[in-house]
Amino acid sequence: MKYRSVFDIIGPVMIGPSSSHTAGAARIGRAARHLFGRQPEYAHIHLYGSFAQTYKGHGTDVAIIGGLLDYDTDDTRMRSSIETAKELGMIIQFYEEQAQMDHPNTARIVIGDKKAELELVGISIGGGKAEVTKLNGFELRLSGSHPAILLIHDDRYGAIASATTILASHEINIGRMEVSRKAEGEQALMVIEVDQNIEDTVLNELERADHITQVARISD
């Protein structure tokens, strides 16, 4: 089942005007920000379907940038996010794409700075809920209905064990887990869906673990 909580239906508390185009879009932006781990210097945002056709009216652009600035859906600073981002030196470009995607509310976000770049595809499925379907070329089957931890790590022995050991020590139960890699010995992605939201302390511990380069959390 896609929706597990009554608060997916009665909620979120958010800045208007559209749950899928504003709140869901903000959550896609924020997922990218958390995965990147810091404020990007540039953002190329490709919009598809209904996102491409109506983003100005819905503030989808404002919301995604708000997410990139780490704003939550109810943050009143959302309205001026683009101005704020520009003041902070972020270079922003939007592209209205014609291609048909599987989902009508799809955004592809490419963010980066001098050190790294991240590419993420997210969909907004309704009522403010968002899912990440692609990350740095890795296909994800992230349901969005459970809290999840995404770990980018080196493809080495022990990487998986070090992550799961930390979760076990915090008595966090793993519901589903998926590991994929681009090529042997290169970058790999671990997706761990868990039952409860993850505290910052756990994330910090994961960040310091062996072979793990990036950690992000997707809250329920």
């Binding site: 239906i9 909620g11 005007p17 379907g49 056709q53 009216g57």
Partner: protein, 292 residues
């Protein structure tokens, strides 16, 4: 987790509890939270709804200038006239409008189930409140009951206008509100399900055609009509009227209609009212030039 309305109603009947209680217990179990945590999170949502209505009734204007001020007009009318459709109904309408006007003005609202359909549930709640005099706890329960029915729609059909048209948004919201009114008025779980079915049946096929792509025209007034639809359907269900088509089958029909709806009618601002002469003119006014 309950998969459909039939399971939801039967769980309430078997355990002799309200729909809201089924929802609260499920939330506690799924999220591993205490009753107090679940309750207080919902109470915060109630506070946001109340504040949005207050703001809307003072009068707000959207950035585009397309919406705002209608909630005030309706309240003034109610003070000076006896509304033909009755005070409670018009009160619900004005409060639904107030919520969506605040939403259009980029104010803070609680999505129920979405932002574009955020007016139906609180609008009816704060109108029915004046007649039924519920406790604060019963008002919070109203939101759990609405949420329980919305939960089924979201998992078995859709609550997104881009995916299923306005029937999936305002249609779902109105049905959720109808079911919650029934519980607050002392009706049975089955009667809540009848009210949801009657409401949704009358919203089937409703397209999502926002002028200039904004959640303003016709969204604000659709919430007004969704709220009134909910109040009337709740009264019918409380009177003992039943839906010949069971609630779960109505939800399924809504899903299938949504799947076959052309993309012009699913929040792309390409069809319906958005494609009228005036709709296009308004779009040009808002953006300086047309979106496409």
């Amino acid at each position: 987790m309950f998969k459909n309305v039939a399971e939801l109603v039967s769980r309430a009947e078997t355990e002799s509890i309200q729909i809201s209680e089924v929802m609260i217990r499920q939330e506690m179990e799924v999220k591993q939270l205490s009753r107090e945590q679940v309750y207080s999170q919902m109470e915060r949502n109630l506070d946001v709804m109340e504040k949005a209505i207050e703001d809307g009734l003072k009068g707000v204007q959207s950035h585009s200038g397309l919406t705002g001020g209608d909630a005030v007009l309706i309240q003034n009318y109610m003070r000076n006239h006896e509304p033909l459709s009755g005070n409670l109904l018009m009160d619900a309408v004005s409060k639904a409008v107030a919520t969506n006007e605040v939403n259009a003005a980029m104010g803070t609202i609680c999505a129920t189930p979405t932002a574009g359909s955020a007016g139906c549930v609180p609008g009816t709640l704060f109108a029915v409140k004046n007649q039924l005099n519920p406790s604060r706890e019963e008002m919070v329960r109203y939101l759990f009951t609405s949420g329980a029915f919305g939960f089924v729609v979201a998992n078995n059909a859709s609550i997104s206008g881009a995916a299923g048209g306005c029937q999936a948004e305002v249609g779902s919201a109105a049905g959720m509100a109808a079911a919650a009114i029934v519980e607050m008025a002392g009706g049975t779980p089955q009667q809540s399900s009848e009210a949801m079915a009657i409401t949704l049946k009358n919203m089937l096929g409703l397209i999502c055609d926002p002028v200039a792509g904004l959640v303003e025209v016709p969204c604000v007034k659709r919430n007004a009509m969704g709220a009134s639809n909910a109040v009337v359907a709740a009264d019918m269900a409380l009177a003992g009227v039943t839906s010949r088509i069971p609630c779960d089958e109505v939800i399924d029909a809504m899903y299938k209609v949504g799947q076959r709806m052309p993309s012009d009618f699913r929040e792309t601002a390409q069809g319906g009212l958005a494609a009228t002469v005036t709709g296009k003119q308004l779009e040009a006014q808002v953006y300086g030039d047309a979106l496409d």
